[in-house]
Amino acid sequence: MVTLQINGQAHTIDAPDDMPLLWALRDIVGLTGTKFGCGIAQCGACTVHVDGKAVRSCMLPVGAIGNRAITTIEAVGDTPNGAKIQKAWLDIEVVQCGYCQSGQIMSATALLNRTPNPDDSDIDAAMAGNICRCGTYVRIRQAIKNAAKSA
């Protein structure tokens, strides 16, 4: 049994220590907004926040998390930066198929948490680990800048 602090709630789940957080979230807790893309931390679709920092949940074993606070796409909108990013995403219609966007939004929100006014270099450093097959990169970059400017 492992206890995880997910979106402000404690969840005690029956999972082996080596189960990546991604599968605990999706298959056990039932939070399917966090996506499986590659399983080897190359695409970023599985990004969640652990203590506010963007982490690839497909490679993070549940046994290594302890009491740290996990935030997923389902709750990131409750944070000021998460809400800003989500709105900026919709304002300029970033999304196409949307499958990678949970991860994109989590990475972008973590970026704003740390760097309130990111420039292109900051965006590259924070977002290059998130692949989008639909090619929404141009709009992602713009939306992050718009979100940073918004009140």
């Binding site: 080596d18 080897i40 920092k53 982490v55 290059a128 680990g129």
Partner: protein, 450 residues
């Protein structure tokens, strides 16, 4: 005589001349650094340093053989990469300017393996480097280490190997340039460099030390990679464990050197690293050491690991050409740190393919095995192992589960790999490497391949 053959002839003359020179001054034995005198095993009064550990003394011959086979790490060389049958051979050793040697099938298959080997023939292979047909083996086979193994232990290994399923796997043809394709020349080499003697305990050292020495020298053959070789490819024990480049990977200094040896490691760090292939703050074992850890050292008892630590601790410090290891994480922001303002090519690839696991600080948010801070490879300004790890990735099965890093060698070009390796060593290590695409191409050629 072609230019190439002429070059080889010169090389041969040089090798022979150097070999004679070395013979004249006598290369010391592997444990000669230790004070005290040695005796024949039969005359040693303390606990027997050979064989299996005490708790296994009553195990069957095959179980004891299995333990010793792990300790001698036979599987590492006698198994081809990418799903080769264990012990069926076929692993290629690419030796620059010499050629390619393939490991052989040591399963009990009568036709292609060692199924017809008598005990005496098996012992001759391990102790004298002789095949059943009397031909010389190449010293890619570590018989200059195994020669110190007791007959009993060697035959226990044989018993274990003969208990395995026979695999029909014909030997691959070695591709060696002249004169190296002439096996008989190895006889001369052996006269110089194979001691052909069994392990002699040192009465001035503890029983634990002697056990560690036996495990390190006769079984685990640490020296084969960690001790530099002379011009004739023999281990130069005057620089014992000072570190060397073997098969395209750098085996690090494991002497008591404070700067880049094990001097700054605690006993516990060394023990943990040996048994799990990782120690917090020192990074993980990659490449051949990762394999040694997962195929061999992880199977040793805690007592045997302790003995190894005691023995390693006793090896005198050898100066290392590596700078002092950096143990502090890099800054959180990519903009800060020593890489700020550097050419961004390596950073660009790092951002996309590496930062997710290794972070901009070098401290991995997902796995301690992925932490770069403090890792020996990252603090090696040659970036040899960093580059090899980028090329080949990591796919280890450890006691703590699977450790995985994808291989980037096929989709990323030589100059890109050089850029990333240079960036990683600069940002997280002591000194940035200056690798070029040509260096990467050369490193790719040196590694053992299927």
């Amino acid at each position: 005589m072609s230019k190439k053959n002429f070059g080889i002839a010169i090389a041969v003359i040089a090798v022979v001349a150097a070999g004679i020179g070395a013979w004249m001054v006598m290369i010391p034995g592997p444990t000669a650094f230790a004070s005290g005198s040695t005796v024949a095993l039969a005359d040693y009064k303390d606990a027997n340093p050979t064989g299996v550990p005490k708790e296994m003394e009553n195990a069957s011959l095959i179980a004891r053989g299995e333990y010793l086979t792990h300790a001698a790490d036979c599987v590492a060389c006698h198994t081809a990469k990418n799903g080769g049958q264990p012990f069926a051979g076929g692993l290629a050793f690419n030796l620059p300017n010499i050629g390619t040697i393939y490991s052989t099938n040591i399963t009990p298959d009568k036709e292609t393996g060692i199924g017809n080997y008598t005990d005496a023939q098996f012992l001759a292979a391990l102790h004298q480097g002789k095949r059943a047909d009397g031909q010389n083996l190449y010293p890619a086979m570590s018989y200059t280490s195994y020669t110190y193994m007791t007959e009993a232990d060697a035959l226990a290994i044989k018993a274990y190997l003969f208990s395995l399923p026979a695999v029909h796997a014909p030997a691959k043809q070695n591709k060696l340039s002249s004169p190296f394709d002439n096996r008989s020349l190895m006889g001369i080499w052996n006269a110089f460099y194979n001691a052909d003697e069994r392990f002699r305990p040192n009465t001035a050292q503890s029983a634990e030390w002697n056990r560690g020495a036996y495990l390190a020298e006769a079984m685990g053959h640490c020296s084969e990679c960690h001790t530099p070789r002379n011009l004739a490819f023999a281990m130069n024990n005057r620089k014992k464990f000072a570190g060397a480049l073997t098969a395209g990977w750098r085996a690090y200094n494991i002497t008591a050197d404070q700067k880049a040896g094990l001097g700054a490691w605690s006993d516990n760090d060394i023990a943990t690293f040996l048994s799990t292939g990782h120690a917090d703050g020192h990074g993980g074992a990659g490449g051949p050491m990762g394999e040694a850890s997962d195929n061999s050292l992880t199977f040793l008892t805690a007592g045997d690991i302790r003995a190894l630590v005691v023995y390693l601790r006793s090896v005198p410090a050898q100066d290392s050409d590596l700078p002092r290891t950096v143990n502090t994480p890099a800054p959180v922001s990519h903009r800060e740190g020593v890489t700020a303002g550097l050419d961004s090519r390596g950073e660009k690839i790092f951002a996309g393919a590496c930062a997710s696991c290794h972070d901009w600080t070098g401290v991995s948010p997902v796995s301690k095995y992925a932490t770069l801070t403090g890792a020996r490879a990252v603090n090696d300004p040659s970036a040899t192992n960093v580059a090899q790890t980028i090329i080949a990735g990591v796919d280890r099965t450890t006691v703590n589960g699977k450790i995985f890093m994808p291989a980037f060698g096929t989709a990323y070009s030589d100059d890109e790999i050089a850029d990333v390796a240079n960036y990683v060593t600069a940002r997280f290590g002591a000194k940035g490497a200056q690798l070029t695409a040509k260096d990467i191409a050369s490193l790719r050629k040196q590694v053992a391949q299927q």
